[in-house]
Amino acid sequence: MVVDELTTPETDRIFHALADATRRDIVRRVLVQAHSVSALAREYPMSFAAVQKHVAVLEEAGLVSKQRQGRESLVRGDVDRVREARSALDALELVWRERVAQMDLILAEDP
């Protein structure tokens, strides 16, 4: 049951968080540089509250963290967490690629 090893509640949250285009864009931005929520809100044609909600989903998945700085919170990306999500995605297909390659090796042993 290798493929389903990815479907822990934790990875579930990660992939739910990344299944939305705006949230992916937020992750991309805050990996490069920390942004305040209001600075992020200016980048999208949606309300401050909507952007705040997206950030909360990402925060819950552990993809970003918020840090208080003066009157504002700065949003930062968690590089390790994003890398983990990336490797889980690749793992899905890799499981069968590895199996098929191994099956090939076994068949090659036949006289």
């Binding site: 389903d4 299944a19 990336r86 297909e93 499981v95 390659a101 099956m103 090939d104």
Partner: protein, 164 residues
């Protein structure tokens, strides 16, 4: 690589893998019908499997334990639904607890395997995996399929490379 196609269908929550072998259908079937051969490819290279139970008949069960690099164990099982040797079988693949019993709290995957003769000899293997949970797996597939996601992930890859 003998894999000729990988399809991910978000709406149906399925992944199809098609592979081609020079060996005849009966020989490829043995890879699954013989537990000693099955355990040589079922687990990933770093998680080799040991097949502890193998009854590949409708209503039967196949049980396996995979051992990780640090000695940690992950047990799984197949509930066998259909068998039409040497061409087709359908199983539900799930997680098991330490005692080898199905863990009802973990998601299961339905796996339909078909072996067909290729014109001129050899075998085409088609494995259709249907994921029971729409949540994580569907999103996983969506991410893999969606062009925008690929692009976004490509960009993130670039950022990650710079960050290290």
């Amino acid at each position: 690589m003998p894999i000729t196609r990988v399809d991910k269908d978000l709406d149906a929550h399925t992944m199809t893998v098609v592979a081609e072998y020079d060996a005849p259908v009966e020989r490829v079937w043995q890879l699954y019908a013989d537990p000693r051969q099955l355990e040589r490819f079922w687990g990933p290279p770093s998680w080799p499997a040991t097949v502890t139970d193998h009854d590949l008949r409708p209503g039967g069960r196949v049980a396996y334990v995979m051992t990780g690099p640090d000695g940690e164990k992950s047990a799984g099982y197949w509930d066998v639904l259909e068998v039409d040797a040497p061409h087709r079988f359908v199983v539900v693949d799930g997680f098991a607890d330490d005692a080898g019993q199905p863990n009802p709290n973990m998601p299961t995957t339905r796996m339909e395997l078909e072996l067909t003769e290729r014109a001129g000899g050899g075998t085409t293997m088609t494995v259709l995996s249907t994921f029971a949970s729409t949540a994580a797996m569907a999103q996983l597939l969506e991410m893999g399929m969606e062009e925008g996601m690929r692009e976004a992930m490509g960009q993130i890859d670039g950022v990650l490379a710079e960050a290290t």
